[in-house]
Symmetry: C2
Subunit: 303 residues, 2 copies
């Protein structure tokens, strides 16, 4: 995963991942009318609208960015049909050559973690018939339960060439409430960063980076700098750019001297870009494309 991601970043000269976090308020009227016309104002209608919307975005940006990050919560809220739209979105994005980061933030133990891992990263075994159900290239997970909650994912990362981004320091205002607590002489997020570095040490790709990366919020730039030092060979998935307030200059510290080491997410700022522009609703995909180009330029100006 990590080598393919880095290759994409280098070929497209763009360390940007587009967050596919649709909300109904982002979806242009013509897409909603068609979906609700077919399926009513139902979860199925909403899921169909999300999928059609995503296809337009993916078509418009797939040659410019290496990866997309669908946020499963947005789909999961609509039940089975929502999960269907999530899986269809992944399949469509993969056909277009994009690396998938499934933003699922799961965290559980033993056979439960195995079930998540087999479904999302590996394959499920139904009386010897094997199925790759979600087929993400990588997912985000939560470290609070400790190594035995992480190991089932690592094992599928090895077997299926997949990756992880483990929550270390998140971008939200209250992230410090637990993550910034002082533990034995340093902040908890640093301790978690050291653990992630250790867990990832046996999965280093040809690029020199590990399949096991970290989620490090761009809104906390001093902390990101410390983590960059502790975790030199773990890729950072960086949320917080744009709508959440982080600027390109805050992001510089997330990168290594080789210009690699981080991929920056923007969701709303790209997929709903038409709302703050001269584009019409029907041009939402063109607006997204322009927003990606602008973000690329912005990131390049500091790297």
């Amino acid at each position: 995963m990590i080598d393919a991601l880095i290759k994409g970043i280098q070929q497209k000269s763009n360390p940007t991942v587009v967050g596919l976090d649709p909300r109904l308020s982002f979806i242009p009227t013509f897409i909603k009318e068609e979906a609700f016309g077919k399926f009513g104002k139902t979860p199925k209608g909403a899921a169909e609208a999300f999928y059609q919307f995503n296809k337009g975005i993916i078509d418009a940006v797939h040659d410019l960015v290496p990866a997309v990050k669908p946020q499963v919560a947005m789909y999961e809220q609509y039940g089975a049909v929502g999960i269907g739209a999530y899986i269809n979105t992944i399949e469509y994005a993969k056909e277009k050559g994009l690396v998938i980061i499934g933003d699922i933030k799961r965290g559980d133990i033993a056979t439960t973690a195995e079930a998540y891992s087999d479904g999302h990263l590996g394959e499920v075994d139904i009386e010897d018939e094997k199925y790759m159900v979600y087929d993400e290239d990588s997912i985000t997970i939560n470290p609070y339960l400790g190594y035995d909650s992480v190991e089932p994912y690592i094992s599928n990362c090895k077997k299926f060439n997949r990756g992880l981004f483990i929550l270390v320091k998140t971008s939200n205002p209250n992230s410090g409430e637990i993550q910034d607590l002082e533990v034995e002489g340093e902040k908890l997020y640093k301790r978690v960063g050291r653990l992630v570095n250790k867990w990832g040490s046996e999965l280093i790709g040809e690029s020199g980076y590990s399949q096991i990366g970290a989620v490090v919020g761009a809104t906390h730039s001093a902390q990101a700098e410390e983590l960059r030092e502790i975790m030199p060979n773990n890729y950072f998935l960086v949320p917080g750019y744009g709508a959440q307030g982080a600027k390109a200059k805050d992001l510089k510290v997330c990168f290594n001297k080789d210009g690699l080491g981080a991929i920056v997410n923007s969701s709303r700022g790209i997929i709903a870009a038409y709302k703050n522009s001269n584009y019409t609703e029907r041009q939402y995909a063109e607006a997204a494309r322009e927003a990606v180009i602008e973000m690329q330029r912005d990131l390049k100006s500091v790297l």
Copy 2:
């Protein structure tokens, strides 16, 4: 939620929740044959087998226990059809008067947390049409991201009379790796316990207990005792009994002097009880019923 749960515990004289964590290896052949006969050895076949299996368990135990706890990972691994079986299981269990604890362990921020919360505890709004999609009475969540990741659930707990069980000290062997770190003079899990107690203080039910409870593993009985003191009015959801090694005597410390304060989960030990008994596969539900009665007796012996 919490008052209904306590009423159920008192009426049935049983602080047991049955974990509905099916695995194909637990499902009797006659159920699998019927499901795979209809849908093939596919995710749809597996999901159908889970649902039929669960119905048998629910029929056999619903008059003995107050609640069931479906573990979403087991269903989610099969994609959309799995989530369908999860939702159908919840619906069936509610028809039988059971309180639902959705074991989903979600944790995310801002609009993402809202999407999880609306889907699972509240209602989703599709152009003014409202749907309760999962309709769990309560769910488990992860605290690592801090209060703003919890608040969207608390808001729906108030609005829809729902509950939460927040991970504080989990039952797995490596749970101490992060949860037992020393933070500012005490272990992290104690700090998280204090936070949960604070977060829950504005949602106290008529019973005197809060809608906001905690997951506290029975495998760490000394820690459970400390947490019981810190969180007198937060209900404990206690995993680890039976298959994970905790005994009834280890559980006593999870309860308050009023005999309330904890609900103990058993999954495998109940739903796959027929495997370690004189029952046949076709009698899996009777075996589950007997296992519940035995567990009830075991818990009563120490309370």
